[in-house]
């Protein structure tokens, strides 16, 4: 994982709304934009516009944290934790190992 990719992962994670989206996609994979909006309202009581959620999803997709596939003619979103593992291997682990005594 290069620096740009690492930046994308950390930028994508640097927002509570995006982390919330990932939490919900991890719980229930394969959601359309409509479902993501509905479940973010149901669970957080936060009513966000589809446009806003759509922009958050774009950032998550760019970081590789969200993968999409088509179910019929509807685009579904799924959480992929591979970039987290790669980010850990590329940078986080270096420091986590040192600190493991604490």
């Amino acid at each position: 994982m290069n620096d740009d990719q690492l930046d994308n992962v950390f930028k994508a994670l640097g927002d509570p709304i995006r982390r919330g989206i990932l939490d919900r996609l991890a719980k229930r994979p394969g959601q359309s934009l409509f479902e993501i909006c509905a479940s973010s309202f149901a669970e957080d009581g936060r009513s966000l516009s589809r446009q806003t959620i759509s922009q958050h999803l774009d950032m998550l997709e760019r970081a590789g944290l969200v993968q999409t596939h088509w179910s019929g003619r509807t685009k579904m979103h799924t959480f992929d934790n591979a970039p987290l593992r790669k980010a850990a291997a590329a940078w986080l682990n270096k420091h986590l190992r040192k600190g493991s005594a604490a």
Partner: protein, 131 residues
């Protein structure tokens, strides 16, 4: 002023009529020939004097992109209210209706989404708040 008719754009009026009556259980209110198409409206058996739903032809060039963009994002073109979502979901599934979203909690409601076979997603909603 009252809302007496709303519409969904359907790919094929005859096919839509069959789906919305034989499967969903609505009844025809108006079926008036209008050139190449029909002024075709349906109502709920439970509220025959209620708002009509016009099954409108999809001919206008803007309709195709509009419908497919909604479907891409999983957004329903219309929403119907039911008393018992689980029962309705089971009944429709038995009839071969394809659900894109199975019954799910969404705040004060439970909802499900199915494909109307005429180019639209349709939402079913059961009000759960206060039950």
């Amino acid at each position: 002023m009252r809302i007496y008719v709303m519409s969904v754009f359907v790919d094929d009026q005859a096919k839509a009529l069959d789906f919305y009556t034989a499967k969903l259980g609505f009844i025809v209110k108006n079926d008036i020939p209008l050139g190449d198409h029909r002024w075709l409206t349906i109502v709920s058996k439970e509220a025959p004097e209620g708002t009509e739903l016009l099954l409108e032809p999809s001919e206008h060039p803007a309709v195709g992109p509009y419908k497919s963009s909604l479907v891409n994002d999983g957004i329903p073109a219309a929403s119907f209210k039911v008393d018992d979502l689980k029962k309705e979901f089971e009944r429709l599934r038995q009839l071969g209706v394809e659900f894109t979203l199975e019954p799910t909690d969404a705040g004060p409601v439970r909802m499900a989404v199915f494909d109307d076979t005429c180019g639209n997603l349709i939402q079913l909603v059961e009000m759960t708040e206060g039950k």
